[in-house]
């Protein structure tokens, strides 16, 4: 039985309408291309909307000594030097322009007394660097992009899910997608495709991420031949809510610590003194998350297994002005008034550093015509992401991916083709579970997947547990072949989950394989059986490829920084500090 489907032809197709996708769309459309953007949600609701704390850019509005060199230095150090340094360099240099451009497009950041964009301190940033709007910076960015996109010529397709990338003669040719509303299909052919589908934090149960974060684009690209890098690097944010159970994992922005919040254990001790006496609460995320975990393991946890976070000393007025969302969140969901009392926090999955391997300047993948930007791409953050760097990432590389795709279509003649039979075969595969009463329940499989990841590839890891986890994941992969989705095609979340689960299984396998191979501890990867950071592993990234349907893992050398950039690490302090002669 053959299915009717819509046909759309574009120059550049962008999959993902978060910050990265929308920024790419603006770049591509301003270059004159015919552009479409697809998103699984309504416009303006993508995961980016949840970002709270701020966007990192060395504007130097409050600390004039800041500059791109120091942002570069902080980012490389936090990433434990397995970052793609070329990405970090363009990132640090371009972030200020991308933020100012938002102001031009209507974003209204908090202001300094001089009337410039306000910047707040954040973990492991040498200077006060995060431009912000209270604790709703992501919303401001996505809203600004949403409004900007209406002024350029871009077709936006809402609530539509892409399920497969087509390849013609080695070059990307387009995608097939279904409308969530009624399950009808559409073929999108394009001369270039940008993946901007975000991360896969939903692979873990205790997570700050939204349902969208199932790594679709990374999985699609991987199956189409793109390489994945640094997959073992999954960030635990140190402060998620831990109580009540209904909100476990929900983010408590780092802004609370940025604004002066203190962490204490059940004995009232400011335990960060033991783990990072210099930076204390504002140490990097991997360090703070591990410290909380260690305190809980040592029996010094709070009643529900976390640490205390206390900001009451700042006074109610200040807290309500600077952290209104947090104040409300705790009042409404936990009956806790954070202006009056300390509250419990604990590590929650927050961000996936790894992802599609891309060229630092153009965001091109190894598949001709295929580009990737934002959380779905890997390389910028290395072994650990700095807070605020993701919002800057999606702006800088969103634009670069849009420009890269433009350049590609200008340099490559013709339009690749998609065979009718291939489209029909994919539609048939996607429809298969609909209306099936018997088969695996996708919700149950998702829960089991989360359990495997929590127990076998969580905050602390070791070889035997990872190996077991891999076996369990491979078993799950088999079972997932017969998922069912009772009901019709009309807005059927069970059916939607089928695709999410399949994509997460693919990526989780790569996460575990990478974690097994990296026999050391570095950034987010903490191996109890290999507790030290080892020089030889600082020289490699683990790269995964799909070969005949199997995930294969290789190593790839970390590119060596130029002599000029290396010098930035030899000044005895962060560049901005060393140059201004101030003490760190």
């Amino acid at each position: 039985m053959s299915e009717n489907f819509e046909r759309h032809a574009y120059d550049i197709l962008i999959i993902g309408s978060g910050g990265a996708g929308l920024r790419a769309a603006v770049a591509a459309a301003e270059g004159g291309a015919k552009v479409a953007v697809l998103g699984k949600s309504l416009l303006g609701k993508a995961h980016t909307v949840m970002a709270e704390g701020g966007v990192a850019a060395s504007l130097g509005n409050v600390d004039p000594a800041d500059g791109w060199e120091t942002h570069f230095y902080d980012t490389m150090r936090s990433g434990h030097f397995i970052n793609n340094y070329k990405m970090v360099e363009v990132f640090a240099k371009e972030a200020p322009d991308r933020v100012l451009e938002l102001e031009q497009w209507g974003a209204v950041f908090d202001r300094t007394p001089e009337g410039r964009i306000m910047q707040r301190p954040f973990g492991a940033h040498t200077f006060r660097r995060l431009a912000h709007v209270g604790d709703r910076t992501g919303m401001e960015i996505i809203r600004t992009m949403e409004q900007k996109i209406l002024t350029v010529n871009v077709d936006v397709f809402q609530e539509i899910t892409a399920t497969k990338l087509f390849i013609d003669n080695g070059r990307v040719a387009g995608t097939v997608a279904y409308y969530r509303e009624d399950g009808r299909f559409a073929l999108f052919t394009a001369k270039a495709v940008v993946i901007a589908t975000g991360g896969w934090g939903k692979a873990y149960k205790v997570t700050s991420n939204s349902w969208e974060s199932t790594g679709d684009g990374a999985a699609l690209a991987f199956r189409a031949g793109a390489e994945l890098v640094d997959m073992e690097m999954v960030q635990f944010h140190p402060t998620g809510m831990v109580w009540p159970p209904g909100v476990r994992g929900l983010l408590v922005t780092e802004g609370v610590r940025g604004e002066g919040g203190l962490l204490r254990n059940s004995e009232g001790e400011r335990f960060m003194e033991k783990y990072d006496p210099q930076r204390m609460e504002l140490s990097s995320r991997d360090v703070v998350a591990r410290s909380i975990y260690k305190e809980v393991q040592a029996g010094r946890g709070t009643p529900h297994g976390g640490a205390w976070l206390d900001i009451t000393h700042k006074g109610p007025e200040y807290i309500k002005r600077k952290l209104p969302g947090m104040y409300q969140q705790f009042m409404a969901l936990a009956d806790v008034d954070i202006t009056k009392t300390k509250f419990e926090v604990g590590p929650t999955i927050h961000y996936t550093m790894g992802g599609i391997k891309v060229d630092a300047l153009t965001c091109a993948t190894n598949v001709p015509g295929l580009f990737a930007a934002g959380e779905c791409a890997g390389g910028l953050h290395g072994a650990n992401r700095l807070g605020g760097n993701s919002l800057a990432d999606i702006l800088v590389f969103g634009k670069r991916a849009g420009d890269g795709a433009l350049e590609f279509i200008q340099g490559h003649e013709g339009t690749p083709k998609v065979e009718e039979a291939e489209v029909q075969a994919e539609i048939e595969r996607v429809l298969q579970p609909v209306g099936q009463e018997s088969g695996e329940n996708p919700y149950a499989l998702h829960e089991q997947l989360q359990e495997i990841m929590a127990n076998h590839a969580g905050i602390s890891r070791n070889g035997p547990e990872l190996e077991q986890g891999l076996q369990k994941m491979l078993e799950l992969k088999e079972r997932a072949k017969s998922m069912s989705a009772p009901g019709s095609r009309t807005f059927n979340p069970g059916w939607h989950s089928v695709h999410d689960v399949r994509n997460m299984i693919t990526l989780c396998e790569a996460i575990i394989r990478g974690a097994i191979e990296r026999k050391e501890s570095r950034g987010a990867q903490w191996r109890l059986d290999h507790p030290d950071e080892l020089e030889e592993y600082g020289k490699i990234n683990f790269v995964h490829k799909m070969e005949d349907g199997e995930v294969k893992t290789y190593t790839s050398p970390v590119a060596e920084m130029t002599a000029e950039l290396q010098e930035l690490f030899q000044l005895g302090a962060a560049p901005g500090i060393a140059k201004s002669g101030k003490k760190e």
Partner: protein, 242 residues
């Protein structure tokens, strides 16, 4: 808190439907969205509901709970002790399925609002006191609960005549931006239909972001319209001081 809670959820599509009861175990701190997710995972996998953030940031999960327009992720089930919790889709927008409605009309209207047109190039010098007012409006999460509740749209289906409170505060935010140069006053008076708002403040009451839609947004806009149309000199003075 009861061990078991009962939800009565609208199930249906464009062709109609009715409420169906589900009993689920209560968990401390559970919000209505959690309860619906439990139903999805264990009883009705195809139950349709929109959500993203579960933190009142994205404005996806708007619905009517026991007759009040609310966010599902911000409404605790223990607010309703010993009561059946009735969950229905927003009334003002056509149902797609279950709790999911077709809100595309709002996006069409957003598209018709002239964008921000700054007089100068960033970086801007703007003081916090100059932006406090518009930052309040920019807190909007586009949940469209205000659109749902505004009687002009809800009871009179006057969507052709009046664009509703969400669009009013979007325009307020732009009109009151100290550096914006575009003029939306004619639009407000004309096809956006600000005159239809009779200041009942129902929109302000339901706004989950606590935006003072009527007092801070709509009324000042109405004054600007009045100034321009009925007091040309005042309008001119105001424009110079924008």
């Amino acid at each position: 808190m009861a061990e078991e809670i009962t939800l009565s959820v609208f199930r249906g599509d464009r062709s109609g439907g009715r409420e169906q009861e589900y009993k689920i175990p209560a968990v401390p701190g559970m919000v209505v969205l959690d309860a619906l997710h439990y139903i999805q995972a264990h009883q009705a996998p195809d139950l349709a509901v929109r959500w993203n953030c579960k933190a009142a940031h994205c404005g996806s999960c708007s619905a009517e709970i026991n007759g009040s327009a609310k966010l599902l992720c911000k409404t605790r089930v223990d607010d309703y002790t010993d009561e059946v919790i009735h969950v229905r889709p927003m009334h003002t927008f056509p149902v797609i399925k279950d709790l999911v409605t077709d809100v595309s009309w709002n996006y069409e209207k957003l598209r018709q609002i002239p964008a921000f047109q700054p007089a100068i190039k960033a970086p801007f010098t703007l003081h916090q006191r100059d932006v406090d007012r518009i930052q309040e409006f920019r807190k909007c999460i586009e949940c469209f609960l205000c659109q749902n509740i505004c009687h002009v749209l809800r009871d009179h289906s006057a969507k052709d005549a009046y664009w509703g409170p969400r669009m009013m505060i979007r325009m307020a935010e732009l009109q009151m931006h100290p550096l914006d140069t575009a003029d939306r006053i004619d639009l407000l008076k004309g096809s956006a239909g600000i005159g239809y708002c009779n200041i009942t403040k129902c929109c302000t009451v339901v706004c989950p972001q606590g935006i003072n839609i009527t007092d801070n947004g709509i009324i000042p806009l109405k004054e600007r319209v009045a100034d321009k149309y009925f007091d040309p000199l005042g309008g001119l003075v105001r424009k110079m001081h924008k």
